[in-house]
Symmetry: C2
Subunit: 175 residues, 2 copies
């Protein structure tokens, strides 16, 4: 049932994932679905967490390389279309629906966790200034990538990703 | 009719704006609406362009101040809820609908134009390195603001906005 939900999410976005549609796709009765998940939101949450599953934090010994690994991985996932095409429908729904906003917050916390581990380890090892707020560093790296995927729809190539990471590190050393 | 469309957009997002709903809100017949706009998309485009209307590019004589003016204005508009709550529904629809994707591209080009004028003027006056691609600078400033509004839902305060602008300028001087 979870696999059917993920498939539907990727194909149609949030709007197309009804309990009826999942029931039909998975070939199980609606009652069986409701036995596992009390609501459509609960089912959606589990499927979304599965789609955006957390990566392990890289630990190459270099902050720059760790950030490049994470940012390159994110850029390629953003361009893989399927997962990235679903997120705007969740963001949109979260603007008006508190349950979905809570679900999105949980997904986002999982997502950001990997970046935070890398950044906080670099701060502990004095590779990055302690004055820097880790959430500012996350925003400076993830923000431009998200912006290019959904807002400007420009290419997310290796040059751009490297430039984003190097600018963040350059401005940190500068201060 | 355009005013009614804008009102509905702000209240319900893109999904709630049907020609029926506009007809009812504006108190005019549907035929009258179709006389002005051939399709729902054409009506939406005009309303969206009106909502996200282009700001004049500031020219204070300092790139830093110009960028701060633009970024502060954007941060406050992002937090004014109404306009910012509509955009995700447009982005989501644009993922699956070519007409709406074209509409979003036009809105985005208008939006980015002001940033580009400020950046290109600074490059012409050698206040900013010519090696920098203006679209990279736009992504580095706008990206973190968009990210905080829609993805991490963190606060967009004066400290954050100043930090984003100063980091972009610091990394440019560093290279």
């Amino acid at each position: 049932m979870l696999a059917a939900t993920c498939q539907l999410l990727l194909e149609t976005g949030l709007g197309g994932v009804t309990v009826d549609a999942v029931s039909e796709r998975a070939g199980v009765a609606k009652a069986a679905i409701y036995r596992h998940w009390r609501t459509r939101s609960a089912l959606l949450l589990e499927a979304c967490l599965k789609l955006g599953s957390r990566r392990d934090a890289p630990d190459t010994g270099s902050l720059r390389v760790d950030l490049l690994v994470l940012a390159t991985d994110l850029a390629s996932r953003l361009q893989a279309a399927s997962w990235a095409a679903v997120l705007p429908s969740i963001i949109d729904a979260a603007e008006r629906d508190k349950k979905l906003a809570g679900m999105h917050a949980r997904m986002h916390a999982e997502f950001v966790g990997t970046f935070r581990s890398v950044i906080e380890r670099a701060q502990a090892q004095a590779e990055l200034s302690q004055d820097e707020d880790p959430t500012d560093v996350v925003a400076a790296i993830v923000g431009p990538l998200f912006y290019r995927r959904w807002f400007s729809r420009e290419v997310l190539d290796e040059r751009f990703v490297r430039n984003v990471v190097d600018n963040v590190l350059a401005s940190n050393r500068r201060r």
